[in-house]
Amino acid sequence: MAQLKYAFFLGCTIPYREASYEISARRVFDKLGVELVEMPDANCCGLPVDPANHEMMLALSARNLCLAEQQNLNIITLCTGCATTMRKTNLTLKTDKKMKDEINGILNQIGMEFKGTIEVKHLVQALKEDVGFEKIKNAVQRPLTSLKVAEHGGCHLLRPVKYMGWDDPEEPQTLKNLIELTGAKCLDYLDEAECCGYTVIAIDDRVALQLTREKLKHVKDAGAEALITVCPSCHLMFDVNQSRIERAFSENYNLPVLHYTQLLGLAMGMSPDELAIKELRVDPSKLLQALP
């Protein structure tokens, strides 16, 4: 089989505040033999401004798609928001000629044209469909059998179905399967598919933090020792904002939140340092000590 190769779309939130996700992902991809090609001219996916101006989102998003088309590579991204946005734009422009002409009219003015020749995948979709469970299983050298975790895929991993559609958002399986490949047990908990609240934190932090708090509670009640995420924004809510929630509600969660790539990296035998685990805000050292 030819080596897997993607245009690597980083987005904004990861370089801004979640470097540990990128670091661990690069280490894991390297070991799995997946080649990541940089996109040196990439811009924001457009999602942050979609509520204010949809056309601007489409144009920004399409510009990234054009860059990957020029590289003749499919895009892989670690951010669920970037994934859903660029998949939406890609499918819209591929199927709606009027919309494609309109956006191309804009792109032409910066010397670009959307052709519709590539695909966009989030990390989880790519691990399932391209890398394959078998290869991941074979790469696991240190099964994390004593560990009990829960997953939070995040809304944009699978919604809206119209543009995603590769797993059931009401009963998602893929991330659970991927977690269990590491040897860890993935527990069910109440309202697993619920939103973390990130997108409204700048509008009303009460609503956003109550959503996160409720999820932390449910995960904790299920007996999970850690929460596993696959989105930098969800991770910000559960990890970075956890102490803020604890202060606001006088509660104590102390729940480590790992990027999936960190969990997989540990199972592949990498050290916590290699996976930038010390950058996590909620200290996972107790959890790490208990590992086999």
Binding site: A19, I23, L60, M99, V200, L211
Partner: protein, 188 residues
Amino acid sequence: MHFLSFKSSTRRTTMAQTTVEASKNTQPSRLDPSFKNEVLREHDAETLKICFQCGTCTSSCPTARFSNSYRPRTVLRMAQLGLRQKVLSSPTLWLCTACFTCTDRCPQGVEVASVLRVLRNLAVKRGEVPLIYRELASNINETGYAYKIPEIRHKKREEMGFPPLPKPKTVDIAKLIELTHGSKLLKR
């Protein structure tokens, strides 16, 4: 419950006052039948017309559980009826998390979240923009990123031997923003 330690108390006070005022307003609002047509012609919003008000959206909405005022079903009905002013000037319009649960669960196939996005887009055209969106758009206009990446991040990458972050052609980005009428969004 105390939220004294939270930052954006001014914004919340404004929103709370608006809600109270709205509930005291017993004057019937003027209907504008052309309003829904403005919504229907926008991308992914044509399904507004087939909403039959079952309420699956509101009962599925994460925000609705923690907000006293945000109810997607109500917003959609107001839009169908043509309550332009009430819909577009409502601060709660901005409380949609864009999780798309409403869209995926709607038994009628109404793209609820997209209709709500169109309504916010229309509010912006009237100049009603929460500050955060001005900041995000301005950052993109200046740097290509939604957030201003601190210099230390660049240095750390270099130390680790990571490839430098993308440096998009900001001239091109600014052009795209101008051509999509995004300039009005930028901070003045």
